[in-house]
């Protein structure tokens, strides 16, 4: 949905844990786009 230049994690729990540690929001992008 958004630009590919972003360094995306591939694990929701890892993102949530990292976000919790950094006191930031996590953004989970659920996609079916061709890889």
């Amino acid at each position: 949905m958004v630009a590919l230049a972003i360094s995306w994690l591939k694990d929701a729990d890892q993102a949530l844990q990292t976000a919790k540690g950094q006191r930031k929001a996590a953004l989970l992008d659920f996609s079916a786009a061709p890889q």
Binding site: M1, V2, A3, A5, I6, S7, W8, L9, K10, D11, A12, Q14, A15, L16, T18, A19, K20, Q22, R23, K24, A25, A26, L27, L28, D29, F30, S31, A32, A33, Q35
Partner: protein
């Protein structure tokens, strides 16, 4: 999309690789974006494709709702007001103004804040559903 990298911890979940994660978060269509507060709670859900301006507005709206989830009431109110101004041409704007009113009320316990918000919505976004939702605050 520097905004996304600097603002969020982003993760991309592909349906072919992680269908169980789709099920866990109740995602039934793509694209779906979830803004998750730092405490792990879902703050905002964006379903379906959006043009860039609308997407940015929705992400900013989600950040405001994440702040509200964390009880950062004053910060949330300022953020919502900023979204309503900066993205006035998007559908996120009336929603942001509505939530600014909610935050103002939570921060003050003053029902007058809700009435003010209804008046502002009626004036700036009279045809929006958020103005209609706020009608109950008019009395």
């Amino acid at each position: 999309m520097q905004f996304i990298s600097s603002t969020f911890v982003p993760a991309k979940i592909h349906i072919k690789e992680q269908p169980q994660t789709f099920k866990r978060f109740g995602v039934q269509w793509t694209p779906t974006l979830l803004v998750m507060a730092p405490n792990g709670e879902e703050a905002h859900r964006i379903e379906g494709f959006l043009p860039v301006e609308d997407l940015l507005a929705q992400l900013e709206l989600g950040l405001g709702k994440a702040l509200l989830r964390e009880e950062k009431i004053d910060e949330a109110e300022k953020h919502f007001r900023s979204v309503a101004l900066s993205y006035a041409g998007t559908e996120a704007a009336p929603q942001a103004l509505y939530w600014a009113g909610v935050a103002a009320y939570k921060g003050s316990n003053d029902p007058g804040k809700l009435k003010e918000t209804y008046e502002a919505l009626k004036k700036k976004f009279p045809s929006s559903e958020w103005a209609r939702k706020a009608m109950v605050w008019a009395a």
